[in-house]
């Protein structure tokens, strides 16, 4: 069974882009366009890795992250931050910070290193 990646980004174009990049490389994907929705999808889909944007309307990425980590079941899901702003201190244990605009091959490289 392919590994599953959850994409959280408020920009549908970016979601579409990431979905295409990941599925072209043999991963299953699911997505959410807000933090709140993201938490629901995590519970439902139980992804192997989360690709998270920081700046979103409503609740920002860091808030999603804190809520996620409170749940024991999800406290170890690796997170890759893909964002246009600097937020190194906001997500303590992120696997990597990828700045937009990003190089898809580099991103895939990071994901492969993390979940195979």
């Amino acid at each position: 069974m392919p590994k599953k990646i959850l994409i959280i980004d408020d920009d549908p174009v970016v979601v579409k882009y990431l979905t295409a990049v990941f599925s072209d490389n043999g991963y299953a994907t699911c997505s959410a366009t807000s933090s709140m929705e993201g938490l629901d999808v995590v519970k439902k889909e139980k992804p192997d890795l989360i690709c998270l944007d920081l700046q979103m309307p409503g609740e920002w990425g860091p808030r999603f992250y804190r809520k996620l980590r409170k749940d024991k079941e999800f406290k170890d899901i690796p997170i890759v931050v893909v964002s246009g702003i600097d937020g190194d201190h906001a997500i303590k244990d992120a696997v990597a910070f990828v700045k937009k605009p990003f190089d898809p091959e580099k991103l895939i490289g990071i994901v492969k290193m993390t979940i195979g």
């Binding site: 920009d11 174009v13 970016v14 579409k16 882009y17 295409a20 920002w60 201190h89 605009p101």
Partner: protein, 650 residues
């Protein structure tokens, strides 16, 4: 040049070989095989250069060196050392050897050492010549001085003249400074009351009266009481001072002050009288002219479109022009930094201090505070004021108010700020564009028309967003349009606190959240308000980090409410601020953090709070920490909503 050289070595071979090569170089070589013999030859021949081995039986080279230097300190001694005798070589340098060469002796090295010795001898000679020249110069100058003094030896006439002149000078306000400008009629009278000599001005204005009676020049209407000053002087034997009227050669009359002084012969009898008259009208005219000039300067001083002040070394304001006095408090003896910047001590980088130091003009730009509390950006120029001997006693400071230019700059900078705030948007757009292109590329590759279409749709979406963005920039709104939202205060401040807390704790500083549990909701643009609060919290953090006192630091983030407002209190016990920092806190590009600060943070925070119809206030003392109080209305005032929702692009 004296090319005698004494060569001392216990090895005959070295004496011979070195002796030959030194003779070839033109030296008259004397050689000795030990210290005692060397000293004998030295006393007899006094060669300027001695070349000696260090290790010799009996008296060694070092001892010989000391003895030679003692006998004739000008002798230059070069030491010959065996391989590895570095310590001895250095020791010899301590005893004033000019250089050392090591065995086996290299001709080039020896030549360098000899040149050094010659150089030293030559320098010493030159120095001696200079000193002797100097002495000759002093002798010459003192001879001249004596001659001058002889010339200066004054006779009675000169003395009388100068005392009379001093009297006149005393009558004129400016003192001796104006003496050159002063029109004086000088005449000398003999005991028969005849004029015997006059000065050129006298001759020009009053006519050549030599040989005439002493009282001839005076107008008859001076009255019966008038006595001829020269006559009075002969009678009383004392200098006179009186007012009189004289007739000029063209028939005019002029009021004068007359001074006389008796000139006595060696027996003490009055032989001559010097009479000096100063034309009062002329003096009056000069005084008037001076007054007018001063007035013109005063006018210029007061009316120039800048602040001018004159300050002494303590930065005390000794003069200030009208404009300066209008805008700043200038009490007697006020200090520049008090009047200008409400500081307790001189400002760092004070251009006045620099001018006092180097006598040059300096420039600086500063933010000053007027007595009405207004902030002005001023460009300051300084110029030294010197006294007659050229010492700088005061510095003049001219400051041009460039506040308007700065405001324009502020505006431009806020434009820049907005552009940077949309840079996140631009990055996302680029990512999106990459996405569209990726879908199309892979679509063509995999021959999936659906994917190509999907990609093209993305590109189109992004294009329309770019278009909107470009229009936004082109029709740039004057104020950033706020995105109002009803936000739950508690979760908002929780979020803000969580963003800064790790940073604060990482520095070992205590962070206290003190939130009212029933805060309810507030109308804000959460994104920008978050930015404002984070800016202030991060400042509190910096203030604690910069405080080097050993106390434990604490930042308290307190959020409570009153009827209409949510109040955010951010308190720290860090370094605190002085009055100047407090007053400039919200000025664009004002930073108290040196290179660490951009000067943008609190400027933005202030703007954001203002846009929310809120208030920010600061209390702080140096060394005691700071507290910021931000009050934001729970409901946006309609006025605020109206202005911020009205896009200025339309």
């Amino acid at each position: 040049m004296d090319k005698k050289l004494l060569l001392v070595d216990d090895e005959e071979g070295i004496r011979k070989v070195l002796g030959i090569s030194l003779s070839d170089s033109g030296y008259t070589v004397f050689s000795a095989e030990n210290g005692e013999e060397a000293l004998k030859i030295f006393r007899k021949e006094t060669p300027p250069i001695v070349l000696t081995d260090i290790k010799m039986p009996g008296m060694d080279g070092i001892e010989l060196l000391q003895k030679i230097k003692h006998a004739n300190p000008d002798t230059e001694v070069i030491m010959i050392t065996g391989h590895g005798d570095m310590e001895l070589a250095i020791k010899s340098l301590k005893y004033q050897a000019v250089d050392f060469v090591t065995k086996p002796i290299n001709d080039d090295v020896l030549e360098i050492a000899l040149n050094r010795a010659h150089e030293k001898i030559r320098m010493r000679q030159q120095l001696r010549e200079y000193t002797e020249n100097l002495e000759a110069l002093v002798r010459e100058k003192s001879a001249k001085l004596i001659e001058i003094e002889r010339q200066v030896a004054v006779g009675q006439a000169v003395e009388g003249l100068s005392s009379a002149m001093r009297n006149i000078a005393g009558d004129l306000e400016g003192g001796l400074t104006y003496f050159n400008e002063m029109p004086c009629f000088v005449s000398v009278h003999n005991s028969k009351l005849k004029i015997v000599a006059i000065n050129p001005l006298y001759k020009e204005r009053l006519g050549d009266k030599v040989g005439r009676n002493s009282w001839d020049v005076y107008a008859p209407k001076t009255g019966a009481k008038f006595r001829c000053p020269a006559e009075q002087t002969f009678k009383t034997g004392k200098g006179q001072r009186t007012k009189a009227t004289i007739k000029t050669s063209n028939g005019d009359k002029a009021p004068v002050i007359v001074h006389t002084a008796p000139i006595r012969n060696q027996e003490g009898n009055i032989e001559l009288v010097v009479e000096i008259s100063a034309d009062i009208t002329e003096v009056k005219r000069l005084r008037e002219e001076l007054r007018r000039t001063q007035q013109r300067y005063q006018q210029l001083f007061d009316e120039v479109p800048c602040y001018i002040s004159v300050q002494d070394r303590q930065f005390r304001l000794t003069a200030a022009n009208r404009r300066f006095k209008e805008d700043f408090d200038v009490e007697d003896g006020a200090f520049c930094y008090e009047a200008y910047r409400h500081r307790d001590e001189p400002c760092p980088n004070c251009p006045i201090a620099k001018t006092f130091e180097d006598g040059q003009s300096h420039q600086a730009e500063m933010v000053v505070t007027s007595k009405a509390g207004k902030k002005y950006n001023v460009l300051i120029w300084t110029a030294p004021l010197r006294n007659t001997v050229g010492e700088i006693t005061h510095v003049m400071e001219m400051s041009t108010n460039i506040t308007q230019i700065r405001q324009l700059q502020d505006h431009l900078s806020s434009l820049g700020l907005k552009i940077s705030s949309i840079s996140h948007g631009i990055k996302s757009l680029l990512a999106g564009l990459d996405g569209g292109v990726y879908l199309m590329d892979t679509g063509f590759e995999k021959e999936k028309p659906e994917r190509i279409k999907e990609g093209w749709d993305s590109v189109k979406t992004i294009l329309s967003r770019i278009r909107k963005l470009v229009y936004d920039i082109l029709f740039f709104a004057k104020e950033r349009e706020l995105k109002w939202d009803r936000v739950d205060v508690l979760s908002f401040v929780d979020d803000v606190a969580a963003t800064v807390e790790p940073k604060i704790k990482a520095k070992g500083i205590e962070f206290v959240r003190n939130f009212d549990s029933a805060l309810g909701a507030i109308d804000i643009d959460a994104g920008v308000m978050r930015l404002a609060l984070i800016n202030i919290l991060e400042n509190a953090l910096d203030a604690c980090i910069d405080d080097k006192t050993p106390k434990s630091h604490k930042i308290v983030f307190d959020v409570h409410q009153n009827e209409a407002q949510i109040v955010f209190d951010i308190n720290d016990n860090g370094i605190g601020m002085d009055r100047e920092t407090r007053e400039n806190l919200f000025t664009l590009f004002f930073s108290s953090k040196g290179n660490k600060g951009t000067g943008l943070g609190l400027f933005i925070a202030d703007k954001i709070i203002d846009q929310h119809g809120g208030k920010i206030s600061v209390e702080s003392k140096s060394g005691r920490g700071s507290s910021f109080k931000i009050s934001i209305p729970k409901r946006i005032p309609e006025s605020v909503k109206a202005t911020s929702e009205k896009p200025a692009s339309k």
